[in-house]
């Protein structure tokens, strides 16, 4: 008996008697062949009392340098935004924390209505009419949009901007290799997707075209132009599409007329959507993204949530749960999981996705965060980040040995190029309690990113913090250049 179980010796004796066996071992003996039984104890440490576990986990935590412990400008996909206290309160409520997927709608109206509200909020944010109830996280949400495109038009190739986050690109490749679609990457020019290369890469064999807004380097893309170009360059070719599908051997879902254009997929940053033109108004078909910035912790990378919104025509190919409105037998408004014939538990091998457990609790945090920000707050926050990001970029780029990596507009993050070894500079900054940002080349693996530093701003990074970064970073670059100069 552990502290989480309740079976006393007396209980056990009575229970065994009711079952009609002599011991618990007998229940196993009668079902599991001895040859596959473990005949020793697991090699794990002995159990601990609650405070011992707490202290062990706290000691581990103390060996991490978190955004609580240093002045951090790390971003690159996850951001140190403030999570309002009411979100913790709500996500820690037993009623939201401990149930599972709302299979029994009569006793799950809370969770179902939250999903419905979440879908509404994501739909508003992206200006796209349909949203599902959550995906695992950002990069795999984009890969799932690829699967949708593949089921939709069966074309054999994806075109992806190099402005996507490297993790997103990698994830897309992993998934696409599985379901048999080739991935072609299109490079950047001055920080944004090379429009010519983009148009050239897309043709009637292009199943989907992917870009990020803002992109990995912080630059705001011309989303409208990219979408239009993709639609134009990729028009036609229904036959090719169908043929491709056959070749790729994709299962099941009927391909509705192998649509006449690639699916345009944008990975967007929800926090910027108060001020950036939303994907739905830029000709994007499917918008996906990482929801961490909305009320979710950094958590060393997860759990957070991904979102997935699309035009109406993709509704019945959406992955994941969707809540819908209906009435009960007494005419009361209520919510249920709907369009389940898309899903694995009904459609099995013909499902539009394999996703089951997703990120309901994180999506709850997301919608509460959006309600908390509100219609005005999301714009104000966007403007604040815009102004501070600009200030930070200009301040840092004015320092010796530091220049902008590109000159595009930036809204919450920007890339610099240092005339010094980034790793060494970052190490120097860390010694002063400043995490200067992400090492671009370490993340992307691109030689062209050498010297690149990606600096993220949130509402928690004040002007004074930025000024401090300037001091520390400036000194670190100077010191490294000096070291280089004397040839050490």
């Amino acid at each position: 008996m552990s502290r989480y179980t309740a079976t006393t010796d007396a209980d056990r004796a009575a229970m065994l008697a009711a079952i009609g066996v002599d011991s618990v071992a007998e229940i196993f003996d009668r079902q599991i062949p001895a040859a596959v039984r473990l005949d020793r104890a697991l090699e794990l440490p002995a159990g601990l009392s609650e405070h011992e576990v707490f202290e062990h986990l706290r000691d581990l935590a103390a060996r991490n340098v978190s955004a609580e412990d240093e002045l951090s400008f790390l971003g690159a996909g996850m951001y140190d935004h403030y999570v309002p206290a009411l979100i913790d309160m709500l996500t820690e409520r037993s009623e939201f924390l401990t149930p599972y997927t709302p299979y029994q709608p009569e006793i799950s109206q809370g969770g179902l209505q939250v999903m419905f509200e979440y879908q509404t909020a994501i739909s508003e944010l992206t200006a796209l009419p349909v949203s599902n109830a959550s995906m695992y996280e950002g990069p795999s949400a984009l890969a799932s949009a690829g699967y949708l495109a593949k089921l939709h038009n069966g074309r054999p190739r994806f075109v992806a901007s190099a402005g996507l986050h490297p993790h997103t690109l990698h994830t897309l490749r992993t998934y696409a290799h599985g379901f048999g679609v080739e991935v072609v990457e299109v490079g950047l020019r001055d920080g944004v997707t090379d429009a010519d290369a983009w148009a050239a890469a897309i043709d009637e064999n292009t199943s989907a075209a992917f870009f990020a807004q803002p992109n990995f380097y912080g630059a705001v893309e011309d989303a409208t132009a990219l979408s239009a170009a993709a639609k134009e360059a990729g028009a036609g070719g229904a036959m090719a599409g169908r043929a491709a599908e056959k070749e790729a051997g994709a299962g099941g879902a009927t391909t509705r007329g192998a649509a006449g254009a690639p699916v345009v997929v944008a990975q967007v940053d929800p926090v910027t959507l108060g001020i950036l033109a939303p994907p739905g108004e830029c000709g994007v078909d499917v918008a996906v993204g990482e929801g961490q910035s909305l009320g979710n912790r950094l958590d060393f990378g997860g759990p957070s949530f991904g979102f997935f919104a699309a035009r109406e025509e993709y509704l019945r190919r959406m992955p994941g749960r969707i809540a819908g409105e209906t009435r009960d037998v007494d005419g009361r408004r209520g919510f249920v999981l709907t369009l389940q014939t898309r899903e694995q538990h009904i459609r099995r091998e013909k499902a539009t996705s394999n996703i089951c457990t997703a990120q309901a609790l994180n999506a709850l945090a997301g919608v509460v965060h959006l309600a908390w920000l509100g219609r005005r707050g999301i714009v104000e926050l966007g403007e604040l980040l815009l102004a501070r990001t600009h200030y930070a970029r200009e301040t840092l780029a004015a320092l010796d040995g530091i220049e902008k990596l590109h000159s595009q507009p930036v809204v919450r993050e920007f890339a610099l190029r240092l005339d010094a070894d980034v790793a060494a500079v970052r190490r120097r900054c860390a010694e002063h309690g400043v995490n200067a940002g992400a090492d671009l080349r370490a993340l992307s693996g691109r030689e062209s990113d050498r010297g690149g530093l990606l600096v993220a701003i949130t509402e928690r990074r004040t002007r004074a913090d930025i000024d401090r970064l300037a001091t520390v970073l400036g000194a670190a670059v100077a010191a490294e250049r000096e070291k280089q100069a004397v040839g050490v």
């Binding site: 989480y4 986990l57 706290r58 009569e106 958590d299 694995q344 499902a351 609790l361 600009h390 002007r463």
Partner: protein, 500 residues
């Protein structure tokens, strides 16, 4: 009491969404004042890139948000309030200690791109968790990356593909028994492979003849849950493994039912090559209303080279780092390093229980399931809801509501709905598909005998009631915030967002 209202305030209230609350201009967020020089907005961001109209998010004060969501929460049933014997989902107690440790800033505010030298606590935790999971599975190579069970399945099938491709083979078929969970076949397709179904034998295991007939050189993998979704252990597992391995295929273990066998029997020892864990099941990450989850995988030596990257490795000096390289890796399945917040919780759980506690958990889960089954039998429930297969079970069991439907005119759905009026979450219904009117019951180890007794009595009472008047259950539930909902209408004319 005549003329008195029968409905609770909650039942009287019509659902209103957050978008239907508040008023223009209300707010909860207070933006810090601009502390940098003001610059012309057009210069920072040209109008053509800007949003013209703000998104119509709610306009509500903080108290309105709190009250809205607290009230909504009360329209949910939850594990902390009542028995939740949802089969295949392992709704075991979620210790609050785990929420506490996961919330420590050193974990919760740790950026995923923090330099490994300055995230040693996190990496050590992951490494320890990998080791523990490897030991429990009997397969020592672990990747924590997948985000949930079905993500683990995808990883597993991509590993299988990579393994075969590495040997120059393009195998396409994946065998799955007809008891398999829906994620298995769905994943097969997503991984670009083809489902081949296997029949179930009278004992609830795999039909060996069918297996032998279908096991050929085109088979990439057999996916199995063991104990399977009937709660039964396939006694032929060694023979199955042999058959599969003989044709060069891999054996995949769907770990959703691991709670039956922790410290009792290990997938690796059964012959499996790849295992996924559901940390949100066996290792008690709270289910969150449908996530987050976490689906680490453990694999054998021959599969290890293909594992997703990055991996947490320990260097000679005792330090930990992230290994990104790996020529033959299938690559990434998501951003960053996986659902670390879930790792913290499950690791805390393993620390709390230790070897003995984990084994005890499985033993007690199995004891509880068999006891509940026995109690139901004592109540004569078996007459209407017989056990679908076998006599005993492991951590869960599946009853068939076929006789109940025929003799009492009650569908499993009606029984489930009537249970709501008794304050219980119903078991899983209509799964696995091969059992008529299936009712799949998984009590877990953290329930008391008293609770199991009460649940058995409630089922018996509903059946007695139905013998008198089946209409009562057919009209159930009566006491919930809403009653039966029209799912057909919802799917026919989908309204999936609030019109504004």
């Amino acid at each position: 009491m005549s003329g008195a209202p029968a409905q609770t305030p909650q039942q009287r209230e019509q659902a209103r969404t957050i978008f239907e609350r508040g008023a223009p201009g209300r707010r909860a967020f207070q933006c810090p004042p601009l502390d940098v020089p003001e610059v012309d907005g057009e210069r920072l961001l040209p109008a053509r890139l800007r949003r013209a109209q703000p998104p119509r998010l709610p306009e509500v004060s903080e108290p309105e948000i709190v009250r809205h969501y607290v009230r909504l929460s009360k329209r949910n049933f939850d594990l902390d309030s009542g028995f939740y014997p949802l089969g295949s989902c392992t709704m075991k107690h979620n210790p609050r200690l785990h929420e506490r440790v996961a919330a420590l800033p050193g974990h919760a505010r740790l950026h995923p791109l923090q330099d490994p030298e300055r995230a040693q606590g996190a990496l050590e935790l992951m490494w320890n968790l990998q080791r523990a999971l490897g030991e429990i599975a009997g397969l020592e190579h672990v990747s924590l990356q997948p985000s949930a069970g079905s993500h683990g399945e995808l990883a597993g099938l991509l590993l299988t593909r990579a393994y075969h491709e590495d040997r120059g083979e393009r195998r396409r078929k994946v065998l799955t028994p007809d008891t398999a969970h829906g994620t298995n076949p769905a994943t097969v397709t997503m991984a670009g492979l083809e489902v081949v179904k296997l029949a179930t034998n009278p004992d609830g295991g795999i039909d060996l003849d069918d297996l032998r007939a279908k096991a050929d050189g085109e088979v990439a993998c057999l996916m199995l849950t063991n104990p399977n979704t009937l709660g039964l252990f396939d006694r032929n597992i060694q023979e199955i493994a042999r058959t599969v391995h003989d044709v060069g295929a891999t054996l995949y273990y769907d770990g959703a039912n691991l709670n039956a066998v922790m410290g009792i029997s290990r997938p690796g020892d059964m012959g499996f090559d790849i295992v996924h864990f559901n940390l949100h099941k066996s290792f008690t990450q709270p289910h969150g209303g449908g996530g987050p989850g976490s689906g680490p995988i453990a694999v054998s030596q021959r599969i290890a080279p293909f594992l997703p990257r990055p991996l947490v490795v320990r260097d000679g000096d005792g330090g930990f780092r992230l290994e990104h390289d790996g020529d033959r890796s299938i690559g990434r399945l998501r951003g960053f390093q996986g659902n670390y917040g879930c790792f913290v919780r499950s690791y805390a759980y393993i620390c709390s229980l230790g070897a003995e506690g984990l084994t005890d958990a499985s033993q007690t889960a199995v004891l509880n399931a068999n006891y509940l089954l026995a109690r139901l039998r004592e109540h004569g429930v078996a007459q209407y809801l017989p056990l679908a297969y076998g006599q005993l079970c492991l951590h869960e069991f599946v009853l068939s509501g076929g006789p109940m439907k025929r003799e009492l005119g009650l569908k499993t759905l009606d029984l489930a709905k009537r249970l709501l009026d008794h304050g219980f979450h119903p078991p899983t219904v209509y799964f696995p598909l091969l059992v008529e009117e299936a009712l799949m019951v998984e009590p877990t180890e953290t329930e008391t005998r008293e609770t199991l007794d009460a649940f058995a009595e409630a089922i018996a009472e509903i059946l007695r009631e139905a013998a008198g008047d089946p209409e009562i259950a057919r009209g159930a539930p009566y006491t919930t915030p809403v009653r039966r909902l029209d799912e057909v209408a919802a799917a026919k004319h989908p309204v999936i967002r609030q019109p504004l």
